[in-house]
Every structure is written in C-alpha cells, then in structure tokens.
Subunit: 199 residues, 2 copies
Amino acid sequence: MPRSSPAHLAEVRERILAGAERAFRAGGYRGASIPAIAAEAGVSVGLIYRYFRSKEELFLAVCEERTEAQMNELAALLGPMRDTRQRLETAIDFFVRSLAEQGWGAIVIQALAEADRNPRLRDMLIRLTEQERGFAAMFIREAIAGGEISPDVDIEALSLAVAMLLHGAVAHQAERGEAWDPDGVARAISVLLERALGG
Amino acid sequence: MPRSSPAHLAEVRERILAGAERAFRAGGYRGASIPAIAAEAGVSVGLIYRYFRSKEELFLAVCEERTEAQMNELAALLGPMRDTRQRLETAIDFFVRSLAEQGWGAIVIQALAEADRNPRLRDMLIRLTEQERGFAAMFIREAIAGGEISPDVDIEALSLAVAMLLHGAVAHQAERGEAWDPDGVARAISVLLERALGG
DNA sequence: AGATCATGAATGATCGTTCACTTTGACGGC
DNA sequence: GCCGTCAAAGTGAACGATCATTCATGATCT
C-alpha cells in the first residue's frame, strides 16, 4: 500500500487511536504519556502530532469516535424491533455487554475526571448523556402509549434518573475492575427499570 | 498554642487535608501538585511529608475522612426518624444537598479514575458502595415490611441498582460542574425510587 | 526533484520526594 | 526564675525522572 494513499492515512490514524485507547485505559488520561501511546500504537512520537494537534485532541477523538460508534450500534440494533419489553431488554443487554467487552467505561470515567478543566470534554459527555436520555424518554413514551404507566409521569425527571443509573453502572465497572459482574449489573438495572417503567 | 501540643498537630494535619481537598478538586489527583497543595494549605512542601508518607496516602486520607464524615452524618440524621417515606426523602435530600454544598463528588470521581491503578483507593470505593447498598437494603426491607412491595423482590439486585443510581448522580454533578441542578437531580432520584419502592 | 510521511533526540518545564538546615519550645540543673 | 540543651517541627532549594511538544533530518512516494 502506498504510504500516501488515503486508505493508508486512515489506517495509521486508526492505529494511533487504538493504541491511545489502550494506553489511556491502562494509565488514565494523565498517566498515559505520549511516548507510551506511541509505543502502544507502534509509531514514533512525532507522527502522533501529524495526526492530532495535541494529547488533549487525541483523547477527545478517542472518546468521541468510540461513544459515537456505541450509540450508532445501539440505534441500529433497536431499529427493526417492535416489542417494547424486548427492546428494553436488548438495550440493557447491549449496554452492559459492550461495557464488559469493549471496556470503554474506563475511558468515560477518565473523561469525567477531566471534564472540570476541559470544556470540550464536558460538551462531549453532555451530548452522550442527552443521547441516553433520549433513549430513556423513548422507552417511557412507549410505556405510556402501552398503558403500562400513567400519562402524567414526569418524563424529564424519569429519563434523567435512567441516564444517571446507566452512568452509575459505568462507575461501578470502574470501581470493580476485572472483578465486576456484568450479569449482576444487568439484573440490577432490569429489576429497577421494570419496576419503574411498569412490569 | 504550643507547636508540639497534640491539638496543634491535629490542626496542622487538618489544614493540610483541607488544602489538599481544595487542590485535588481544582486540579484532579494528578493535576494537583505537591507545591500547589502546600501553597493552598499554607505550609511548606517538606511539612506535608511529616504528616503523610506520599501524595497517594494524602489523597487516600482526604477521601476516607470526607466520605466517612458524610456517612456518619447521614446515619445520625436518619437515626431518630421512624416514618419510612420521610426517611427516604431525608436521605435523598441529604445526599444531593451534600453533593452540592460540599462538592465532594469531584473527589469521588478522581478516586474512581485512579482506582484501576490503586488497590487501596479501590477498596475505599468498594466500602463506600457497600455502605450505600446497606442503606438501600434497609429501605427496601422497610418497604417490604410495610407491604408496599412484594416480599420476593431481589434485594441484592435492587440495592445494587440504587447504589449505582447514586453514583450516577455523582457522575452527573462532575459532568455538569457549576451548572448542575440539585433539585432536578433530587426529583429524578425521587421519581425513580418511589416508583420502584412502591409509591 | 519536490512534496509529504515519518523519525526520535533535544528542549524547557514540572513533577514527587529528599535532606541539610533553621526555628521552636519543653525540660533539668542551678 | 533563668539558661543551656536537645529532640521535634518546620523550611525550601536541590535532585533525578518524566512530561508534552518541537524540529532537524531521513525515507518514500509522485
């Protein structure tokens, strides 16, 4: 492959992103040094700065591309489904499973820890939360339409609570590390949501 | 006050802890340097190492003493109360209010971000979660005793969900920063919990 | 040949920690 | 009551390591 083809450039960029993700997950945002990221990605230190303006920009790119991919995947998964109960179970299962398999929860926690000093990271996290609230509000409206819960429920408050519950699961994984129990977390979310959304 | 009296030593230790808490909150665990902490506390760099063996130990002390104080305060607050509904409202209000006023949520997020590389921080966080689960399980058992929810509910799963919800609120505060809405968060938690614990 | 991709040593700043040093105050002999 | 002594409290410059970023140089393509 020619070194200057667009495909090659995209591949190098993706290799840097993948190496950076591993390094950030292992050492945290501050703890992952540029030399360490370069070694993990198999490129030189200088090359990283041809693809990203700074470490901050690189971390932002990792966060955005990964969370966006997760959200798109979930939306595609739910698209053809019709039954509300099945959709809810699928969404919870997807969330917990991708948390377990991809381990992107650690990245979100790192972003949270830096959000206080980085407006762009904060904006990214707020967009993520709003997307989760959007999913939650959709399920709530379906439950209302299905007559499972009262139409005068506070959708704003309830969808915020659901989004916070999901972020709590992310925090729980960060807290437990290797020893976390995806099935237990999925069961916990299901029990609470099915009680609240009418089971 | 004599420089070598126990009271003076305790006061200096507390001043270092308070300065460190401010510095950690402003800059994060990694971002708060020992010189910055020393300046914030009004002591010299060297003195910090007379009271704490390392930066890690200092951060651990900040986390433990603050979270322990919060938990004791909540337990004392709930102690004399009898009515379950009132106890639940008090607990939620205390949690959200202390999150808003003390701003200790940012410290917890920093601890979460470091837990992967620090077993003692992880243990501290796990103990905190287990205490929150203990409170949650207490409320669930009261709701069962009061006949508000079925006796065959999965207490383990439900109490875990409640603890995750609370940690989600901590994450939400870290995400929103100065712009967060304590009343909205309290309403969200109340709506979800009262629906789930029988309202 | 010229343009772009890629390298990694060099730079200046900053970090956590140490330690030689000064200041303070409790105490025993007078 | 006074003073000399000494352990402990407190200081901050110095140290070696490491950081994010740059740039002079080389490699590879058109």
